[in-house]
Subunit: 688 residues, 2 copies
């Protein structure tokens, strides 16, 4: 991959002298660096832009580090083959050309052929349908972006060429720049994971930023983030929460664990930063670029205006990872000494409307001395005498000098631009609104806290083994387990699944004489939400009622069996579930059970395997904890059950969805699993 | 008030020739308009800035429309008195001077005296501690803001001078301007309500924008918003969610109905627009200024880049009031005709990276023809050939021509500025990020839907009448009603409050022989959260247990009485409560009861009085509806109970807090109120 970003010799297939053509923009961008040896390839012209051109790559008799292909899609396969057959085969290829899998079947076939060639000849193929790559520090612009790429320390990996050029234009205005840029296109055989690993090793890249629409290999992705985010922050914006993935879902867990949420947990749990929108993405990049990292969540606001201070306070109090630092009396006294009598030395510190730069500067120094402050937000509004540029200078100086970030927020138009131009010169950015600054700060604090946690251990997945049960299911073309089948899997893991008696006839039912109140349920591979379909009778008090309910169920569900269970005592109903995500594999879920399950959608998610410790940590920091504590139930007890459920899929990897719903939790006795539903993945079986 | 914003003659007390002085900035700002007759008042100088000065206002022998006072606080009282004693008394006074209630006791006394003078002489006093007022269309800048005030159609009322000047600077950059500006300062005797009413009558003011830190008269405020928002949108950013107000709270309702949330409901229910942060505030102003109003929530996105289209789609799907418009097959065919074959004619419409302005233009025309579209967001990214300015021209033309808004989103730096400068010329603004555009659009759609609803009726509050009960409570210095007392109030309103038997001795208890399972509770003015303090025994199955529990309670709560109730069947536990807000008066709350009450804090709030219809509407659009429907309970049935509870305070206006918690709701039988707690406001009684 080093050759891709630091090539000495480049073949440009489709190079052109015609202005506006992609092959022309590519040539111009590459020619910015005289040290590169370019080989234009053009079947018709002997020279392109004053440089000798070759009819084919095979005519180039020297070593070529990369070939960039920008010809119509139908010719690409041939050219890739030629690359592999050069005197010195060209192993690194960037395919700019569009017209592949993104356009449908025909293009997909074309792409398949390219992938086969890549595998056969061990080629690295970037794209197709991409913008190219950039290495600003090496002087390489192997892209057809018309914009100058600002130089800096952000490594960008993006699955949208258009967004990439928009970001060039946008980030430049904020004083941010790029080290490496890779656009992914259709990811024929090089994907985001390959680039992240390479960017991690690049000394000029301090921050890795990704725009992704899909993730190629979720497990590898999570592992790489886990490994790298400790050294370099990884900031991700993931677009396109796939609706399609939701179509075939049969369980509560399936419905509750959305694709976007799984990505979010996978990134956050491994120390990455995930953003849901562009302003957050840009805001986080601003903070990570140049500023020191926040030490903790305790934040001080310094302002020269009351109103914006109040606004900032409100926002900080409502932001999960940010809180207002409380000054000690001693610290307040110290602040008083460097401020006028009318200044507030509570947080926010009001330096008053007539503050010159020295007043800001003195408060900065004090804040740096108070050891427990995590970060400082500096609000500047343009008032009658406010020396914007000089204050911006002092903010820059404080950021250079001290160990915490001083985040500038300049509310204004001209004033903002004036401050920004000073700050940018010193390598810092600024914010117009407290809102964006605080949101971005919150994400950075979450990152700092996240990478402090112990490293997640990734267990190897065991191979799926066939079993008697699976064979039976395959034979019956059935993907939903009967209750008894599910129970026996549950019991392998010491889950206390409530036993059930199968009753086939009224006579069977009449034999049941004790243990009331009882529950009668239909047990069928076709009926997933028993309650919704009247397949459940609760609280049956005597034999007579039981017979009645049995007959009712039998009438409604002729071909299915009915099972009888004890009515269990009401406790806290939780759902523990598993879902197999197409990208990240098995995911564990814990949520409120019963009627609240999907209504509130309050839940925790873990990529599996998950340790009991991880499970406990996440429950504790979720809204579920409040309810669990109120019910006086032990969180570790819940985590123990969840961990057991999570382990099921280590062996039974063919499980697609699993609902333990509800598991009744009590403050003073062992939990009981009232229902267990398992859906497996059987090839060729289309569920419902 | 017309005289304040359109004065002919102005006295400036504290006028000064010294640069940098407030009295000097005021003079300069006022002198921008030659038509104004200025009377500088300066005790030492015969002339100020070339104009004859007067030692005192009383020396001015002509009629003066307003006096602006900018002298140290200690002299203000004297000057106000003089204003009232002029030959032609000066009735309108703007006090710029600081040093009043904002600085503590001493200042508060000064302010009180000013208020007394205002009342005595019927003066309108703006401020003290304010920035002044502006009327751009009249050419009046009676403020000490150093910035030019951009002219436009926003009427700004702000409780922060510093934020006001920041907004001048900021909004100018977005092509927005002001008609009238009023800064409130300490609101001695003119407040936001007075200004809103006047701004409503000003033909140049199309939008009323407010920054408030507190609201003077909540009921009047809500009424005015209700009346005016149908004609002119009112956009409010309210800062400072008071924590202090939460200290004395004794009920669940009190804890759940926060000050900020009540303001929010009061504004939204009456058709106003409330923003929690500055970017939303500015974004909404951009949309309301110039653009047509969205017709409905069905929004079309047009983009020249896939990535940002995907991002926008994600955001729109997660935004409450925005949804993606679905094109009919016929509409898709029409779109296909004006787009290249590779374009997507789903929503977002992808006009492709090589789109020139004509392609955008054609899609705009089609969208205007499809009658059901509510609004269009136009995403432009700067790609190789993108003619930013010409596209901006087409967006402006579409906004002028068609009946729906075409909201421009230009992702970029230079590109954004280029587009904005074109759009501003035509009277439109643009957004950098889809995020902000969609959030702001959502608020505008909410506004449009809100003002379509029927007008809220404001009932008159009945005077608080003394009663035997109140006298008793006052005598006992007790603010918490006993259960029996609360029940009898509840039953006046036909609430089915579960009866209770008071038991004073073991003998009393032993007499109870039937009706099990039973509940025993302590009934005390000191114990508010019975459950938390072990004052509650549920599910008592027989006499023996009952005696045991009675004794346990008696031991724990020696001085209180114990009551016995039937254990009611489990249903959906809800809380219905009332809280008296210091600004808005009585507020009704509906939420989940039981253990979930404060854990989730899912609730609806209404200012009282509230009709059953209003109650039903809000429940239906809240997350509560999901749970209620799942439990098969009638929303109107719940609304009926809530309305009855709400009526209680019409007569019993002395009630401070009230919790019906829980009320058990069933799908098939009448609701039962299990507990009713009432706390009243007794002067001199410090609760707890």
């Amino acid at each position: 991959m080093k050759k891709i970003f630091e090539p000495k010799t480049i073949a440009i297939v489709g190079a052109s002298s015609l202005k506006g053509k992609i092959g022309n923009i590519l040539m111009r961008n590459l020619q910015q660096n005289n040290a590169l040896k370019l080989y234009p390839v053009n079947i018709k012209r002997p020279r392109v832009m004053g440089i000798k051109a070759y009819p084919s790559v095979t005519d180039i008799k020297n070593k070529v580090d990369i070939a960039i292909i920008a010809v119509p899609a139908m010719f690409v396969e041939k050219i890739v083959t030629e690359c592999a057959h050069c005197k010195y085969p060209i192993q690194n290829i960037i395919i700019i050309s569009a017209g592949f899998s993104e356009i449908g079947e025909e293009g997909k076939e074309r792409e398949e052929k390219i992938i086969q060639l890549a595998n056969k000849y061990k080629l690295n193929i970037i794209g197709p349908n991409c913008l190219g790559v950039v290495n600003t520090h090496y002087g390489l612009n192997a892209s057809f972006a018309k914009h100058d790429v600002p130089r800096g320390s952000i490594g960008l990996i993006a699955q949208s060429g258009a967004l990439t050029t928009a970001l060039f234009d946008l980030l430049k205005e904020h004083g941010l720049g790029f080290s490496l840029v890779a656009t992914l296109g259709n990811k024929a055989n090089v994907d985001e994971n390959d680039f992240i690993e390479f960017f991690a090793s690049d000394p000029e890249t301090k921050i890795i930023a990704l725009y992704l629409e899909d993730i190629t290999d979720g497990k590898r992705f999570a592992g790489i983030i886990n490994k790298i985010s400790r050294k370099k922050p990884i900031v991700i914006i993931k677009a396109g929460s796939s609706k399609k993935a939701r179509l075939a879902i049969q369980s509560h867990t399936g419905a509750m664990a959305g694709n976007a949420e799984i990505v979010q947990e996978a990134v956050k749990d491994n120390g990455g930063i995930i953003c849901n929108n562009l302003p957050d993405f840009v805001g986080v990049l601003k903070l990570l670029n140049g500023f020191k990292r926040p030490l903790n969540k305790d934040t001080v606001f310094i302002t020269n205006a009351g109103g914006p201070g109040v606004i900032a306070t409100d926002l900080a109090e409502n932001q999960e990872n940010v809180s207002l630092y409380t000054f000690s009396e001693k610290e307040k006294d110290a602040l008083k000494k460097c401020l006028p009598a009318e200044s507030s030395v509570e947080n926010p510190v009001d330096v008053l409307g007539d503050a010159m730069e020295d007043r800001y500067k003195n408060v900065f120094r004090k804040c740096a001395e108070f050891k427990k402050i995590g970060s400082v937000c500096v609000i500047v509004t343009p008032q009658a005498q406010t020396p914007i540029s000089r204050i911006a200078d002092e903010i820059s100086a404080a950021n250079r000098k001290y160990h915490i970030p001083f985040v500038p927020i300049v509310i204004g138009g001209e004033a903002y631009r004036q401050a920004t131009s000073v700050l940018n010169k010193h390598g810092y950015s600024s914010f117009i609104f407290p809102y964006q600054a605080i949101r971005s700060l919150s994400k950075c604090i979450e990152y700092v806290n996240g990478i402090r946690k112990s490293k997640k251990v990734f267990a190897k997945e065991l191979p799926v083994k066939s079993s008697a049960l699976m064979e039976k299911l395959e034979k019956e073309q059935r993907s939903v387990l009967l209750y008894g089948e599910a129970c026996s899997i549950g019991r392998e893991y010491k889950l206390d699944v409530l036993s059930a008696k199968i009753v086939n006839s009224e006579d069977d039912v009449k034999k049941i004489s004790g243990g009331f109140p009882l529950v009668a349920k239909v047990d069928s591979p076709d009926i997933l939400h028993k309650n919704a379909k009247d397949g459940l009778s609760l609280n049956i008090l005597n034999s007579k009622e039981l017979v009645k309910e049995f007959n009712r169920l039998k009438k409604l569900f002729k071909n299915d069996q009915v099972i009888i269970q004890k009515q269990v005592e009401q406790g806290l109903e939780l759902i523990i579930g598993i879902k197999k995500d197409s990208v990240f594999g098995h995911v564990l879920l814990l949520g409120l059970g019963g009627v609240l399950t999907e209504a509130f959608n309050v839940k925790c998610l873990w990529l599996l395997p998950a340790s009991q410790k991880e499970i406990i940590e996440k429950i504790k920091s979720s809204p579920l904890a409040k309810i669990i504590r109120k019910k006086k139930i032990s969180i570790s007890r819940i985590a123990k059950e969840a961990e057991k459920v999570g382990r099921i899929v280590q062996k039974h990897a063919y499980i697609d969805e699993l609902d333990v719903n509800p598991i009744m939790m009590y403050p003073d006795k062992e939990p009981v699993i009232v229902d267990l539903k398992i859906i497996v993945d059987i090839k060729g079986l289309s569920p419902n």
